[in-house]
Symmetry: C2
Subunit: 243 residues, 2 copies
């Protein structure tokens, strides 16, 4: 029996945003591994073992998955959104790196709709021209690196998408990011707070930087900052193609 | 009869990467509008009119679609990848802006798997940490703006994804971008050339900046430049989460 690993993206929440490629991998899997709320999205069936695990144990989870694959199991590691964007794919390769005996395993990454694309679509097209994606979490890098990148992104006039903008453990980071934006951008710069996009709890809030407060973001929110050219037409927010 | 517009992403090429949400919109549509090769991906059926059009007529195409919606038709504007990333969604809102009589129309943007996510998944996880997406085409902005953004992105140590890296009309731009990268990045910086990802013609090439030549890119290629931390494990290329 030859095992395989698929590192798969479940999209932002709605089943209608899961690709057929990911559904096919789930249908053939013997094991599903992932963070508790993502594994909870997988329908149980005979022959499928679910392995939910807690947050912040990404490397342990990746090693467990690789071990099962080496034993011949067909394992799907699930992420929300896209597994390659601030999610499990990098953790799997980090776990793989020191273990040459696993380098020959059958491993695939299956893309998904990452949160910023679903948030942008719900708002209009704010990422319609050059943009960047920044993980605001300072779990794995210093806050100064985050702030420096935001400053350079504003200087480049990128639209920006912020993932993990505000955690309970370190709530002050997002306020510091807002300080940088206020120093670099005009007060009317448009910002979008998109919470739980594509789920029944979806909430979308669009307002100028001057009216933003740091409590508007939480860990289920993706924040998009427009470029200097981003504007509104009717209920939509978009960035022109010539920005 | 009340018409609607769905601006939908068909993903990078494989049908298995089209979301069920987009398939459902196509199943209910009366008209499909888009660039010739994308409309060619839609299966004809009775009751569905296909409107393929040439490249570089995005605004005309968007106006035609909005006019049909105003007449009560159910129209899908198709893009490859994600419609909100260097594709038709911004063109639709640009066409909408000067026409207040159309602002109340039922318009939705349906996200898709954009090329850089599929290319990254095929290579491993090179966009696994902070990154940016830049359209290298200078059709709608000066080349100097492109070069300045690439320089600032390198300074921020973003991984980068380049769309439309090289056109027949203006082939010299990509060479200028490579000059900027050579000035800002170490010679071993990893680059990925991903052509026609997820199609039978998929070709993936991974090599250090020092070995890159400008003829490696064409309009069907997405180019990914790693950050300073991007590295290889076995046949995979990835950026660690703590970059």
């Amino acid at each position: 029996m030859s095992g395989w690993l698929a590192v798969a993206g479940l999209g932002p929440g709605a089943d209608a945003l899961i690709t057929p490629e990911v559904q096919a991998a789930l249908a053939e899997a013997t094991d599903v591994v992932g963070y508790i709320p993502y594994v909870a999205r997988i329908a149980p069936r005979p022959g499928l073992t679910l392995h939910p695990s807690d947050n912040r144990v990404e490397l342990d989870r990746a090693r467990d998955a690789l071990r099962m694959v080496a034993e011949g199991r067909r394992v799907v590691v699930v992420s929300s959104g896209d597994p390659g964007v601030f999610a499990m794919a990098s953790a799997v390769f980090e776990a793989l790196e020191p273990c040459p005996e696993w380098h020959g395993l059958d491993i695939r990454v299956l893309p998904g709709i990452t949160a910023m694309l679903a948030a942008a679509a719900a708002a209009g097209a704010p990422l319609g021209h050059d943009f960047c994606a920044i993980n605001l979490s300072d779990n794995l890098k210093p806050l100064d690196t985050v702030l420096r990148r935001v400053r350079l992104a504003a200087e480049a006039d990128f639209a920006m998408a912020f993932y993990n903008p505000r955690s309970r453990a370190r709530p002050e980071g997002f306020g510091r990011v807002l300080e940088v934006l206020r120093a670099c951008c005009e007060p009317g710069r448009l910002m979008i707070f998109a919470r739980a996009v594509s789920t029944p709890e979806q909430a979308l809030r669009i307002l100028p930087l001057s009216e933003v407060t740091e409590d508007m973001a939480d860990m289920r929110t993706v924040v998009i900052v427009g470029s200097s050219r981003t504007r509104q037409v009717g209920r939509f927010t978009y960035t022109p193609r010539s920005a």
